[in-house]
């Protein structure tokens, strides 16, 4: 699919520029996202990967206009299909959500209303955003259930969410997110709560459905394997900044940013044995204690004076965009032998 990382020739569907999200506290404002910029082209699956506290979920929430107060956007812009949406009033944002931007969250129990049948929820969503009669909507709801792999959809359409298993519920959530035919879906850890054997099926469903309809996806996850198998491009987040963006094969196999390299090395390999795992010492800084300059410098083997004083801006390195003064070359190895912990 798309291999360029800079805005593709056609105008991107979603364009986020220099986004800053802050949370005011009694000690002063905390910066959750600092100068985050990225694009999503139509029909593209962009992966947002990072560890807890990096800011990936907050990015998704900011795009959806669902930031938990008192967190709010203090700088930058979010442009959806040519129209700025970061300052939209709540009522307009509500209309945008569902119709043009869909959402899938980690816990299906939070997305589904336990008191309504799944059929009702689907029909209600569709009829809110698309012109159709009640009967048409019901037909479509049954069809959607079939598409997402619910067996006996004509009977199950009148069942309640608690009558389905976890994997089935998440499939229904996917149907719910897609039924109003949005252009973009924000999927925040859609399979993290599911068992591994179910995870693969649900991700495959999401991927094929979105491909068929040309729906773009912002896939937020902490799991590199999920990204590797499902995304076209990926952005790696660290401490509120994007460390690196690029095509998925590039980032996964030959990452440039030292953090990404360390991250790939920490993942225990399934396919071969290793004596020790590569580890990055220390931990991601808390919001209240972000370092100056490059946020990764305290943990970076290649840090220099420049890294401490000046924050690196993302610049092109081959097909990737890297925010680092000393981008590395070569393959990243998973696991290292012989290195003491």
């Amino acid at each position: 699919m798309t291999t360029s990382n800079i805005a593709s020739p056609a105008a991107p569907l979603l364009s986020v520029r220099h986004l800053r999200v802050q949370i005011p506290t009694r000690h002063g404002p905390l910066t959750a996202l600092d100068d985050v910029s990225f694009d999503i082209a139509r029909g593209e699956i962009l992966g947002f990967v990072g560890e807890s506290g990096a800011g990936k979920s907050i990015t998704g929430m900011a795009v959806l206009g669902l930031l938990d107060p008192p967190a709010h956007v203090t700088a930058g812009e979010i442009i959806f299909d040519g129209q700025p949406i970061h300052g939209l009033p709540a009522a307009q944002m509500r209309r945008l959500r569902g119709r043009r931007i869909g959402a899938i969250f980690q816990d299906p129990l939070l997305s589904l209303n336990p008191l309504l049948t799944v059929g009702d929820q689907l029909t209600e969503t569709m009829r809110t955003h698309l012109p159709m009669s009640r009967d048409e909507a019901r037909e479509r709801a049954i069809e959607w259930l079939r598409q997402v792999g619910i067996p006996s959809p004509a009977e199950r359409v009148d069942a309640y969410p608690h009558q389905f298993s976890g994997g089935m519920r998440q499939r229904i959530v996917i149907a719910l997110a897609l039924c109003a035919e949005p252009d973009l879906v924000i999927a925040d850890e859609p399979t993290t709560a599911l068992d591994v054997s179910v995870q693969a099926q649900v991700l495959e469903l999401l991927r094929t459905q979105c491909r068929e309809r040309g729906t773009a996806v912002l896939l937020v996850t902490h799991d590199m394997g999920v990204i590797s198998e499902n995304a076209d491009r990926v952005a790696v987040m660290y401490a509120g900044h994007i460390a690196e963006t690029g095509p998925v094969d590039q980032i996964v196999n030959q990452p440039r940013h030292p953090y990404t390299r360390g991250l790939m090395g920490s993942i225990p390999p399934v396919d071969h044995d290793t004596l020790w795992l590569q580890q990055i010492d220390g931990a991601m800084p808390r919001l209240s204690a972000r370092p100056t300059g490059c946020p990764f410098h305290p943990r970076c083997k290649h840090a220099t004076e420049q890294c401490v004083t000046t924050r690196p801006m993302p610049h092109p390195e081959g097909v990737a965009l890297v925010a680092c003064w000393h981008p590395q070359q070569g393959m990243a190895t998973a696991g290292v032998t012989g290195v003491a912990a």
């Binding site: 225990p268 290793t274 020790w276």
Partner: protein
């Protein structure tokens, strides 16, 4: 060296739920050799955590037995455990120095005057500092709390360590630190360990033997290398195929649909048969027993029993770095 440290025979644990009896652990038997790390791996509801608690002594089995042999060098048998949730495994009102000291003082492992030094030594071993003794758990991150838990476990001078998903709640880079630490300490202390996880990659890294569980039953037990290179049981193959691989592009085929049945209503016979492409008539009626093959692998599968051939579960899946032997 190969004498079993722990021998579990026909262990079961039942619970009553909603008027029915659930066998969370169903007739499980296995052995853990001295000084090795044995992992139990499986998805939710497979009973691995329940089994771990029974083995640790926190819960009583409903049936069956477990036997610990006397450790070498005249060491006393003591069990310690590392828990999954870094936030619930430390008492929020106790300073961590006191929490680590408690197993030492309660079990009289050191003279009173030596306890403080011992606590500081343990903290240093897990990568924390002596100044941390006065702090409370909420002042630490998740990964640091797990280190404190490990220090507390070591303070009890165990011969046997049970680790219940110790890194599942941690980020990947922190997980690497903790796994490296656990591996190193287990070697240094000569511990025999039981490691519980749902993550096969983690399990490959830490263990020498692996037991795969499905709905309370052990379906396969094998040496690590053997399990990954030639998984026998169809469920093991499904698990391996389902793991997202890194750097190998798109998954070329879709896995057969099917989900974990509810533990309240397990399928009759072999509990895996509704999802198994090799299911035969006997699978629907009779639960297969765990049989040990010539090469030391134990499998509970009628298909394997009858043909002696490992089942090839994934038609067309391409995994260049792993191969399935069809011997």
């Amino acid at each position: 060296m190969n004498m079993p440290y722990l021998s579990v025979k026909n262990l079961s644990r039942e619970f009553k739920a909603q008027g029915r009896t659930v066998r969370a652990v169903d007739n499980v038997s296995f052995e853990i050799p001295v000084g090795s790390t044995f992992s139990l791996v499986g998805e939710s509801g497979c009973g691995k955590t329940t089994l771990a608690r029974v083995i640790a002594g926190l819960d009583k089995p409903s049936a069956g037995s477990m036997q610990f042999s006397a450790p070498v060098d005249g060491r006393v048998h003591r069990t310690q455990m590392i828990f999954q949730d870094p936030y619930a495994s430390l008492n929020p009102r106790w300073r961590i120095g006191d929490a680590i000291a408690e197993p030492i003082t309660f079990q009289n492992l050191r003279l009173r005057a030596d306890v403080k030094q011992r606590v500081e030594d343990l903290l240093a071993r897990v990568g924390l500092s002596a100044a941390d003794t006065a702090k409370f758990p909420h002042e630490f991150s998740g990964g640091q709390r797990q280190r404190v838990s490990i220090a507390r476990a070591l303070a009890g001078e165990p011969s046997f360590l049970v680790c219940d998903e110790p890194t599942s709640a941690l980020d990947v880079s922190v997980q690497a630190q903790i796994l490296n630490l656990l591996k190193r300490l287990e070697k240094e202390e000569g511990l025999t360990s039981l490691f519980i996880s749902h993550n096969l990659a983690v399990v490959r890294f830490v263990s020498s033997m692996i037991g795969v569980m499905y709905l309370g039953r052990l379906v396969e037990v094998a040496q690590t290398a053997e399990l990954f290179s030639a998984p026998r049981h169809p469920y093991t193959q499904l698990l391996l195929a389902a793991i997202p691989r890194i750097g190998q592009g798109r998954r070329p085929v879709s896995l057969p649909a099917g989900e974990l049945p509810s533990p309240l209503a397990p399928p009759p016979g072999c509990t895996f048969h509704p999802r198994c492409p090799a299911a035969m008539d006997i699978c629907r009626r009779e639960a297969p027993a765990l049989r040990t093959l010539d090469n030391g692998v134990s499998v509970a599968c009628h298909a394997v029993d009858s043909g002696g051939q490992p089942v090839r579960f994934m038609p067309g899946a391409a995994h260049p770095t792993s191969s399935f032997s069809l011997a």
